[in-house]
Structures are given as C-alpha cells and as structure tokens.
C-alpha cells in the first residue's frame, strides 16, 4: 500500500541549521487552525513573519514614527536614517553597485509597472518586440500588454518543455533587430523552475537588449547578485521574504534609471517646482513620489537581517532537502502527477490528482490545518500549456519540516480515500 511511502528516508539536516529553533522565531506557526497545528505550505503566495520583523514594526510605530526627508527635528532624522539604512541593506543583499539603484516600491507588481511604463513608453515603437517566457506570473504579462497597446510594440513568448524548462534555443531564436526588451521570471511560482537567467541575460546583451528579472520568488530562496548575473532590472516583494506586505524593491542600473522619466508625480520626487517647470530629484527619489511605506521599508530591512543571520546557503540546503523529500513522497502516490519537473527547481511542488479537483484537495487538507494553494496561481498560460484547469501547490520556506511533508502526503492519501472512485 501507499502508506509504506512514509519510509522514504529523510535526508540529513544541514549543519548549523536547527529548524526547531527557527520555528520559535515565527509566532504564527504555533497557532491552531480548525484545532490543528498550522502546516503552512503556501509560502510562494506569502511568507510568515519572524519576531525580528514584527518587533521592528512595533518599535517603529511605538517610538520612531515621523515623516522622512523633510523634518529638521530628531525624530524625522531618525526615521530617515532607518529608512535609508534599509535601502542599503537591500543594496548589499542583492549586491547592487550603489544604493541609489534601489527604488522602494509597493512590491514586484509596482516595480514591473514602473519599468514597463517609464522605460517602455519612452523606448518602444510600433513593431518593436518584447520577449518574455511562457511561465510568467500575470503581473509580468499584463503591464507589458498595456504598454504594447499604447506603443504598438508586440510580445514574443519563449516556450518551455514538458518538464517546465525554458527552451533556451527557442528563446535565442526569438531575437531580431526589432527586439527591444526581455522580461523573465527567475523562479516560477507555479512550476518551481529556476530559469538560467545569467545565460538568458548574456544572450540578450549580445543583441544589445536590456533585461528585467522578476525575482518575486527567487529572492528568499538563494543568494542573488545582480551584478554577477548582469541584470539591468531586478524586482522583488518584501512579503515573500519574511517581511511586511506593501513594500518591495526595484533594482535598476543607474544608467537606465537616470534616463527614464518619473513614473508618478508628487512630493519627494522633485528638486524644485514652479508652475512652469519641475526639476526632478536625483535617484532614487525621482521614482519615489509621496510618503513611502516607511515602516515597511524598515521591516524589510529587518527581514534581510534575519535571513542574513540564518544564512542563505543554509536556507538553500534546507529547502532543497524538503523539496527532494516531497518529490519522493508525493510522486509515489498513485494517480498523483507532479507538474513542473525541471532539473533546476526551487521549493515548489505543483500537482494534480487523477479524477479529483484541486479545490477539493485544498478544502480537505485545510480540515487538517494544512494550507496549500489551489488554482491557477496567476499563471493561466502555464495551466493552458499543460491542459489542466488548475493544480494544488505546496511551497516551502525555511521553517517547514520533514514531518510537515509527511502530514501533506498523509493528507493527500486521505483525500484519495475520501473522493477517489
């Protein structure tokens, strides 16, 4: 019977990493849902927050709150310093050359809209081509479609194979003298595929084409060095990095950002204003109109401190161990098909069960306190490619454990027992 699958040996825990100590840092993990201990496996949607982040937010609002970049009084200075410190933390975390290349946004979505709108509207002409991959999140499709409608540019889609791996040759073949831009996801939310972004960028640069990398899923799951991969733009969301919602960052090479017009108008983004003429502020403030999410920025800085203290290599080792174990346990379940089996994969496992709809899987697992995502994960084109309406998806974070994956596998067996014909 399938039960014996639980005998799959669990690979050894990496040294210097104690998942039980990590779990102590996340208060929500000790909550009950439906009277069961929460098994949170929807980390691709958003991650839980450690005390370090929660306390940073509390401290900010409790004793540091003031508007930034304007007051001469001490509190405003303090808030400004903390916010700008957070910017430098982001800079170091992704190894950007300068902190003015880091623009705070609401998240990945706003960063993409910023680039599409500011860079795209200035540079795209009718008939120009923009390359993206077939596994993009909707937020890396729609903003480009909008700019295409406004400028007459067109999208070209690089396909992926049955394992969910980008077909690099086909990607390369898409380049023409009319190619103006490439935008690509680093780690796919629905398939888990890690794209070979360094090679993709090198190919684009050989054609003199700049590249945007959507790092929403990759940022918390492996070291990022934007200079090493030579990305022209890179963006991520704080909330997928154990930080607050409503804050994220856009990295852009200074030489692009300097040429680009502002995205929004307002306070902070101007050097001087008369009714005749406005001088825009310098980077990064040119792109940060209005009072920003100050607490969010500080919280994001705390999240980066947290990840740095745990150590990204430890996180990578732990999550690959979880993924490997999940693959071996789940793929042995009769009638279960894993969707997305790329050789380079992050901690995401999407699956379908024969004859059972993902929605029912989600509800039954929820009854056992297990939170997985069901649906198309904002990646309808990916679902269409595999001719499935939806999948169930478990995605892992640094606090997940081997017993939680056992709970998932047992839960799936329960679903089959309940709904299987």
């Amino acid at each position: 019977m399938t039960r014996q699958l639980s005998k799959t040996p669990a690979p050894a825990q990496p040294p210097h990493f104690d998942v039980h100590r990590i779990r102590e840092d996340f208060p929500i993990l000790h909550n009950k849902v439906h009277n069961k201990t929460l098994v949170y496996l929807d980390n691709a949607a958003t991650t839980q927050k450690p005390n370090l982040v929660i306390n940073a937010l509390r401290r900010y609002y409790g004793s540091e709150n003031a508007n930034i970049h304007r007051g001469v009084y001490l509190l405003s200075q303090l808030a400004t310093d903390l916010y700008e410190q957070a910017r430098r933390k982001v800079q170091r975390f992704i190894n950007a050359a300068e902190s003015r290349e880091i623009i705070f946004t609401r998240g990945t979505t706003e960063a993409i809209n910023l680039v599409a709108s500011s860079y795209g509207r200035t540079n795209f002409k009718p008939g120009d081509q923009i390359i993206l991959t077939g596994m993009e999140h909707l937020s890396n499709i729609v903003p480009w479609q909008i700019i295409c409608q406004q400028t007459g540019a067109v999208l070209r889609v690089a396909p992926f194979d049955d394992n969910g791996e980008l077909i690099l040759d086909e990607y390369e073949r898409l380049f023409t003298p009319r190619t103006r831009f490439v935008t690509a996801v680093h780690l796919s939310k629905s398939l888990g595929t890690i794209n070979p972004v360094k090679r993709m960028i090198a190919i684009a640069h050989a054609h003199n084409v700049p590249v945007f990398i959507d790092g929403a899923q990759s940022i918390a799951h492996g070291p990022i060095d934007v200079q090493d991969i030579d990305a022209d733009f890179y963006a991520f969301s704080g909330h997928k990095l154990y930080g607050p919602t409503g804050i994220g960052a856009l990295y852009g090479k200074a030489r692009f950002l300097e040429e680009m017009p502002p995205y929004q108008g307002g306070g902070d983004m101007i050097a001087s204003v008369t009714f005749e003429k406005t001088e825009y502020n310098e980077l990064p403030y040119k792109f940060e109109a209005g009072t920003p999410n100050i607490a969010g920025g500080i919280g994001l800085g705390a999240a980066i401190d947290y990840l740095t203290s745990v150590g990204l290599p430890n996180i990578v080792a732990h999550e690959s161990r979880l993924l490997e174990y999940a693959h071996s346990r789940l793929s042995g379940i009769p009638g279960l098909r894993v969707v997305g089996t790329a050789r380079q994969k992050g901690g995401v496992i999407s699956f379908v069960l024969k004859g059972i709809h993902p929605h029912d899987i989600g509800t039954i697992l929820d009854g056992d306190g297990i939170a997985v995502r069901t649906g198309h994960h904002c990646c309808q084109p990916v679902m269409d490619r595999f001719q499935i309406p939806a999948t169930a998806r478990a995605s892992f974070a640094l606090y997940n454990t081997i017993p939680e994956i056992d709970a998932l596998a047992d839960g799936i067996l329960k679903v089959i027992g309940f709904l299987g014909s």
Partner: protein, 150 residues
C-alpha cells in the same frame, strides 16, 4: 471547522463521482457557459425549453466535487419545472447557502438540494455550488456572454 462530512455528504459524493445528465443536449434551445475564475471551473448548461417548461436539461464541463454535484442535482431537480418554479428554487437554494452558519435552514421545498446546506460553513465554496445555477439563469435569459461567479 465542522466535519468534512458536513460538506461532502454521501449524496454529494455520489453525484460528484457519477454526475447525472452529464452530456451535451443536441436539441437544446437554450445554453450558456459558466466560469469560476477562482478555480478555473468551466461548465456549459443546456436547456430544452418548451412553453415555459424545462423539458430537458443537461450539463458538461469540469469542476470540483461541489460544482459537479450541484450541477447534477440541479438538472434532476429542474426537469419538468416551469421557469417560475426554477427561479424560486434558486432563490431558496441561495438562501440556504448563504444563511447564518448556526441556524438550520428550513426549506422543505428544496428536497434533496438541502444537502448543500453544509456549504455555508465553507464560504469560499459557495461559488462552487451556485455556478451551475447562475449559468442556468443566463441560459434562460439566453445571454451570449459567459457568466462568471464574480
């Protein structure tokens, strides 16, 4: 949460695994598509309407257990009913699904359809249970646009 058996009642499981009237209806004179954006469910409801009476009704598509069972049981409940009766039944069905969780619904007219009362404990699943009915309403109005559960 209440027991899963409240949601997945035996009768619901039976209709989900062996849906009735689950086919195309070549002589239908009304049809509409329904689409649940949240989960990607798609279905098509066919009606043969004759003199204000639902002479025949069937459906096709793919969906979760709740939406399949609801479609199946809807077709069974509505065969031979007048348009008026169908509307009333939908109203009652809807009330049972969205009523306060701790009140037992009292709707004898619903008959077997009352098994869906358990869905009220699972608010995210209400749309699954009503998709077929919304689609039917569109078919009866003969709207060309696919309905969604939004």
């Amino acid at each position: 949460m209440s027991d899963l058996r409240e949601l997945y009642q035996e009768m619901i499981l039976d209709h989900c695994k062996r849906p009735r009237n689950f086919h195309n209806l070549p002589d239908a004179n009304r049809a509409a598509d329904g689409f649940n954006r949240l989960c990607g469910d798609k279905l098509r409801v066919f009606v043969k309407l004759d003199d204000g009476i639902i002479k025949d009704i069937a459906f096709e598509g793919d969906g979760c257990c709740i939406s399949k069972a609801s479609s199946s049981m809807m077709t069974e409940a509505l065969k031979g009913k007048t348009l008026d009766e169908a509307h009333k039944l939908f109203q009652q069905f809807h009330e049972v699904l969205t009523g306060p969780p701790d009140e037992t619904p009292d709707a004898p007219e619903l008959g077997k359809l009352a098994v869906f009362a358990g869905v009220r404990e699972f608010p995210v699943r209400v749309k699954c249970a009503t998709l077929a009915w919304h689609t039917l309403e569109a078919a009866l109005k003969d709207e060309q646009k696919p309905v969604t559960t939004e």
